[in-house]
C-alpha cells in the first residue's frame, strides 16, 4: 500500500513580534495579567486547516470563496499554510459533481489537499473501486453528508467501505450529527472520524462521552468557541484529539486561530492542534 504524502508547506504562521513592533507588556501575577510586565508570547505555529473549502453556494452564509484562489488568498491573509479542502458542490450539488470539480480545481495547488464525499455502495460506488480511484487520484480523506445525500452512515449501508477505512486509517469527516457519530463508532470503534463544525451552543456533553470511549474520534476547532473550552478539554483528554479547522468559507478563519494561539495550554499542545495532529493522521493513511 502507498503511504499518502503530504506536501511540505512553508511556515507561514504568526511568530513573535519583530523587534520594531510595539512591545507588549503583560504577565500573569497572582492570577492577574499586569500591564508593564512581559506576557508569554504565542509560539510559532504551523497551521494546517482541516476544514476549509470553496465553491459557489446557492445561498451564501458568509464570505464566498468561489475558487481555490479565493481560499488561498484567505489562507495567506491569515497565515495558514495548508488546507484539507472540500468543494461546496460536494455538499450542495452532488458528490459526483463536487468530487470531480474539487480535483480539477485543486490540481497544481500543493497546499490544498482534497477530500472526497462518499455515497452508498448499493447505489453508487463499490468500496474497492472507490478506494482504487482515491489511490490513483491522490485523495487521502473523505467526508460524509448523510442528511444532504439521504443515507444512513452505518455498517448496514457502508460496512465494506468503513472496514477499509479502518484498515487503511483513512479519516472520515462528518458534521455534528452526534447520534450518527455514536452509532457508526459503535460498529466501527477504530474508525478515524473527525467531527467538524460542532454547535456554538457547546456540544461538550454530547461529544465528551464519545471521546472517552473511542480513541480515534477527533474534533475540529472551527466552532469550539466555549470560553476556556480548549484548555478544559486538553486538561482532561490531551491535545491529540483536536484539529485546527476554520470552517471557511462559512466561518471566519482567524477566529479559531486566535482562540488556539492563546488558549491556556502548553505550546506543544498548540502546535499539535494547529497542524501536527492532522499531519500525523494523514501520514498514517495507507491507500
Amino acid at each position: 500500500m502507498d503511504q499518502l504524502e503530504i506536501g511540505d508547506s512553508p511556515r507561514q504562521g504568526w511568530g513573535p513580534l519583530s523587534e520594531d513592533a510595539p512591545a507588549l507588556a503583560c504577565a500573569r501575577a497572582g492570577g492577574r495579567i499586569v500591564p508593564g510586565e512581559a506576557a508569554a508570547a504565542a509560539p510559532q505555529l504551523d497551521w494546517f486547516d482541516c476544514n476549509c473549502g470553496f465553491g459557489v453556494p446557492a445561498k451564501p452564509f458568509g464570505s464566498v470563496f468561489a475558487s481555490p484562489a479565493d481560499l488561498l488568498d484567505e489562507l495567506d491573509f491569515c497565515g495558514v499554510g495548508e488546507g484539507l479542502v472540500f468543494h461546496l458542490a460536494q455538499q450542495h450539488e452532488s458528490p459526483q459533481t463536487g468530487n470531480e470539480l474539487l480535483l480539477a480545481e485543486t490540481a497544481g495547488q500543493p497546499r490544498l489537499h482534497p477530500t472526497w464525499a462518499i455515497l452508498p455502495p448499493q447505489t453508487e460506488w463499490k468500496a474497492g473501486e472507490f478506494l482504487e480511484q482515491m489511490k490513483r487520484r491522490g485523495v487521502g480523506a473523505l467526508r460524509a453528508y448523510p442528511e444532504e445525500d439521504r443515507y444512513r452512515l452505518d455498517g448496514v449501508t457502508f460496512g465494506s467501505l468503513l472496514e477499509e477505512l479502518v484498515g487503511r486509517r483513512i479519516p472520515l469527516l462528518l458534521g455534528p450529527q452526534w447520534q450518527t457519530v455514536g452509532e457508526v463508532l459503535r460498529d466501527f470503534p477504530d474508525l478515524t472520524l473527525v467531527v467538524v463544525n460542532h454547535s456554538d451552543w457547546g456540544d461538550d456533553r454530547l461529544f465528551r462521552p464519545l471521546i472517552e470511549r473511542y480513541t480515534r474520534l477527533y474534533l475540529d476547532t472551527s466552532n469550539y468557541q466555549l470560553e476556556r473550552g480548549l484548555a478544559d478539554f486538553v486538561r482532561r483528554y490531551g491535545a491529540e484529539r483536536l484539529l485546527y479547522g476554520s470552517g471557511s468559507p462559512n466561518l471566519q478563519m482567524g477566529a479559531a486561530m486566535l482562540t488556539l494561539a492563546h488558549a491556556d495550554i502548553p505550546d506543544e499542545a498548540k502546535a499539535a492542534i494547529a497542524g501536527g495532529n492532522l499531519r500525523r493522521l494523514l501520514s498514517e493513511v495507507h491507500l
Binding site: 451552543w201 471566519q252 477566529a255
Partner: protein, 292 residues
C-alpha cells in the same frame, strides 16, 4: 501572512493589545441550561477577561432571564464586588409587568447598571409589546442603554420589529444583540436609519465576512463588541475582528471606542476602584451544589 493589521499582530503575539483594549458589551453570568460552562462566574470570567485584554464587561445574569428579581439582585452583587470590571443590564421580563415595574423603580439603587436587557425570544413576547413600554420610557428619560436579543426571522425580536420601536425613544441607545443574526440587511437598515441604534457582535463574529459588511454598510462607529461570556471565548470574536478585511481604526471603534463612548455617562458609578471582595463570592454559593 498578509494581514498587515498592527492590532492583529499584537493579539496574535500576546493575546491582548496594549494599544487596543476590549470592552465587552454583551455578557451573562452563571450557569445555564443546555451548555457546559467550565467557570461561568466572576473568578473565571475575570481570568478570561485578563487573558484576552478585556477591561470591562456589561452583563445580565442567566438567572435574571428566568427570575428577574433574583437574577438582577445577583448581578448587583457582582457589580458591587468588581466595580469597573463588571457593569450590568437590568433584565426586564415582560411576562411579569408588576415585577418589572418594581425592577424599573429599583434602577437608581444599584450603581453600575447601565440600562436594560430584553430577551423577547426567551420570553416569547414581542419587543413591540406594551409590557416593554415602561422600561423603554424610563430608558429614554434617563438616557440608558437597552441591549436586546435580536435574531433573524424571529417574530418576537427580528430586526424589522426594532424599526417600530427605537425611533420612539431617541434618547435611549439600543444595541441589537447578535445584529439580527441571519437577517443582516434588515438589521443594517435599522442601524443605518436610527442614530440611537448599534449592531452588537455576539455570535455574529463566527460568520466570515460579516464584520466587513457591517463596516461597509453601516460604519464601524455603529458596531460594538460582545461575547455572551461565559459562553464564548473572547479571543474567538476578537480574532474575527482582527482578521476581518477592515482598517485598524475600524477595529478600534468596534473593540472599545464606541463602547467607551456609550459607557462614559456611567463610569462614575463605581468605576476604577480595585475589587475588595474575593472573586467569585457570589458564585461560591452555587459551587456548593456542584458534584465534587
Amino acid at each position: 501572512m498578509k494581514n498587515d493589521s498592527q492590532i492583529a499582530a499584537e493579539f496574535m503575539a500576546a493575546g491582548r493589545s496594549k494599544s487596543c483594549p476590549v470592552i465587552d458589551m454583551h455578557g451573562h453570568y452563571g450557569y445555564f441550561h443546555g451548555i457546559y460552562f467550565p467557570k461561568p462566574c466572576a473568578d473565571g470570567m475575570l481570568e478570561t477577561m485578563d487573558r484576552c485584554g478585556v477591561t470591562c464587561i456589561v452583563c445580565s445574569s442567566h438567572s435574571s432571564l428566568v427570575d428577574m428579581e433574583r437574577g438582577n439582585r445577583e448581578m448587583a452583587e457582582v457589580v458591587s464586588q468588581h466595580p469597573g470590571r463588571f457593569y450590568a443590564y437590568r433584565t426586564i421580563n415582560p411576562n411579569y409587568p408588576k415585577t418589572a415595574a418594581k425592577e424599573i423603580a429599583r434602577f437608581p439603587e444599584d450603581p453600575g447598571f447601565v440600562g436594560f436587557k430584553f430577551h423577547p425570544s426567551s420570553h416569547s413576547y414581542p419587543v413591540t409589546g406594551a409590557s416593554y413600554v415602561p422600561a423603554l420610557e424610563y430608558a429614554n428619560e434617563h438616557r440608558l442603554l437597552v441591549l436586546s436579543h435580536c435574531w433573524g426571522q424571529s417574530d418576537t425580536d427580528g430586526p424589522k420589529l426594532f424599526s417600530k420601536v427605537v425611533g420612539k425613544y431617541p434618547s435611549a441607545t439600543f444595541l441589537l444583540g447578535h445584529s439580527g443574526y441571519g437577517e443582516w440587511e434588515a438589521a443594517f437598515a435599522v442601524a443605518r436609519k436610527f442614530p440611537n441604534t448599534y449592531l452588537e457582535l455576539t455570535a455574529a463574529t463566527r460568520v466570515s465576512g460579516i464584520i466587513a459588511r457591517m463596516v461597509a454598510e453601516v460604519g464601524s462607529e455603529k458596531v460594538v463588541f460582545g461575547t455572551d461570556l461565559p459562553w464564548f471565548d473572547p479571543h474567538y470574536g476578537i480574532g474575527s475582528v482582527c482578521f476581518s478585511r477592515i482598517a485598524d481604526e475600524d477595529r478600534r471603534n468596534i473593540l472599545y471606542r464606541n463602547a467607551e463612548r456609550l459607557l462614559a455617562p456611567f463610569r462614575g458609578s463605581g468605576s476604577g476602584a480595585p475589587a475588595t471582595a474575593p472573586r467569585d463570592a457570589v458564585c461560591s454559593r452555587k459551587l456548593r451544589f456542584r458534584p465534587s
